[in-house]
Amino acid sequence: MWTSEHKPVVGVFGFSGCAGDQLRLVHMEDELVTLFTTAEIKFFHMAQSHQEVDHVDIALVEGSINTKKQLEELKEIREKSTFLVALGTCACFGGIQYLNEKDKAFEERFKHVYGSNIKKEDFTVGEAIPPQPLCNFVKVDAMVPGCPIEKDNLLPIYTKLIKGIKPQKYPAPVCVECKLEGNDCLLLHGIPCIGPVVSAGCGAICPSHNLPCVGCWGPYEAANYKSMLDKLEEIGVDKETALRKLKLFGGSKAEEELEKVIK
């Protein structure tokens, strides 16, 4: 790995979201300069003026797909990139805008916001479609969830990618980090923490601040929603509230899994 081959070309792209993942890159103050010198960064509109290239080695794609135009662009990015990373919870799972998508919430919300006279097709910037995670449309090579991503969960993967090494996944829930941080478990004190069904990566920040996990890293791969719901019920959280909590940041995956459990 010490041989420096060609400088990898990294594209940073943003779809619908808060731009927090891109901003989190900019907030890596200590690494910012190396970030820009170890790779050729392209399309990072937040940090630099536009440049065009035909192909990127690594595409870091933030945000969910909310318009037909974005979908076309995503497909183009997929075609033109070797390794595509879904950056952040919106890109990985749909993000908060996915909320209740299964219940056809999108149409109703659109009317609520824009009024019934305005049609989705009227927007010249692309017809709106219900928000979806990237993997619903294209192959995603790696997921780095987070709302927004953290340095410690992106960098280990990123540094591998720019050296041409495939990252490995070893999924764990927030509880693992929570214990490693030396925290007592909030669930034992009746505080409705949903850490057991949420992907690790944040460093268990909320429990470490005495606050229950809100789930912003998206679903844990081996999440046991059934048992989580039972536990929440046991500590006095009603079903509706429990489901709402689990869906808040859970995106498509949580809603699919919960659908199975409730059946």
């Binding site: 790995m1 540094t159 591998k160 050296k163 041409g164 090494i165 495939k166 990252p167 490995q168």
Partner: protein, 286 residues
């Protein structure tokens, strides 16, 4: 190779080795020949048993275990057969002749070749299982006079999938070891050996093995074991003489990380070679 790791101040000590040769065995599996960089270490290259494995390390990628495919009787180099399946192997496949990797080992119990002296030996492999057993085969060829009948049954999905095909065809021709090769299917139409799963080869040796005094060595995909063992039991093999080498996830190779635990044993220390008694005792072995 430093076979007694317990003597080391740091049993995780690894050594740089240079890739001196490599070639594709199949579309996804590659042969590697390595030599240690440090002459002192290189002196001990042959200090291992067939069936043992080594931990490879590439900085930045990690570590992974691979069976040694060469024989200690030819101690000038180490050989491996490695399938590209994921992150480590992907990175390894990017290495070229002259590049280096770190190696520590040997690990595992390996085959007790001395105990088998004077006995009949049946070696059965399928797919990637040929890699560790190749070590035994080469060893036996070099020390053929110490053993009684030796049979080698090897199967692959198609001729193109057969690892070390040229080696094994040559082995077949040399006739030092009685070699039987088979493929599940032959889309090429150029295969003039057996066609059928590996167990179909057993009829070739039936009645010719001194069952009470024979060892069977097996390695292959998990599905293979059951069928092969059934054949062997029908041939009245002693359970303790049916040896198989297994695979588990490993992070350390020396009984510390826990990943390879099966019930109370560690595949890396107590294995990867197990006998059929172990299989009966430990439900989840295969």
């Amino acid at each position: 190779m430093i076979s007694d790791r317990s003597k080391l101040e740091n049993p995780y000590e690894d050594h740089l080795a240079t890739i001196i040769d490599y070639r594709d065995l199949t579309s996804d599996t590659r042969y590697y020949k390595l030599k240690f960089v440090d002459p002192e270490i290189q002196k001990h290259t042959g200090d291992y048993r067939p069936g043992q494995f080594a931990m490879f390390s590439i900085p930045g990628v990690g570590e992974a275990p691979f069976s040694i495919s060469s024989t200690p009787t030819r101690p000038a180099f180490l050989e491996f057969g490695i399938r590209k399946v994921g992150s480590f192997t992907d990175a390894l496949f990017k290495k070229k002749e002259g590049d280096t990797v770190y190696i520590r080992g040997p690990y595992g119990n390996g085959f007790d070749m001395e105990r088998m002296e004077g006995k009949d030996i049946v070696i059965v492999s399928g797919g990637l299982g040929a890699v560790p057993l190749r070590s035994v085969l080469l060893y036996l060829e070099d020390k053929r006079e110490l053993y009684n009948n030796v049979f080698f049954l090897n199967g692959a999905r198609t001729p193109d999938d057969m690892l070390f095909k040229e080696d094994f065809l040559a082995m077949h021709a040399r006739e030092i070891i009685e070699t039987h090769l088979t493929v599940d299917k032959d889309p090429t139409g150029e295969w003039n050996h057996n066609v059928g799963v590996v167990t179909t080869l057993f009829e070739k040796i039936n009645g010719r093995v001194d069952n009470d005094n024979a060892y069977a060595l097996i390695c292959g995909p998990p599905v293979m074991y059951k069928f092969v063992i059934k054949e062997l039991l029908e041939m009245d093999f002693s359970k303790k003489n049916i040896l198989m080498t297994l695979e588990r996830r490993m992070k350390c190779g020396q009984g510390h990380c826990g990943h390879c635990a099966i019930h109370g044993v560690y595949t890396c220390l107590d294995g990867p070679v197990f006998n059929f008694w172990d299989y009966e005792r430990m439900v989840e072995l295969i």
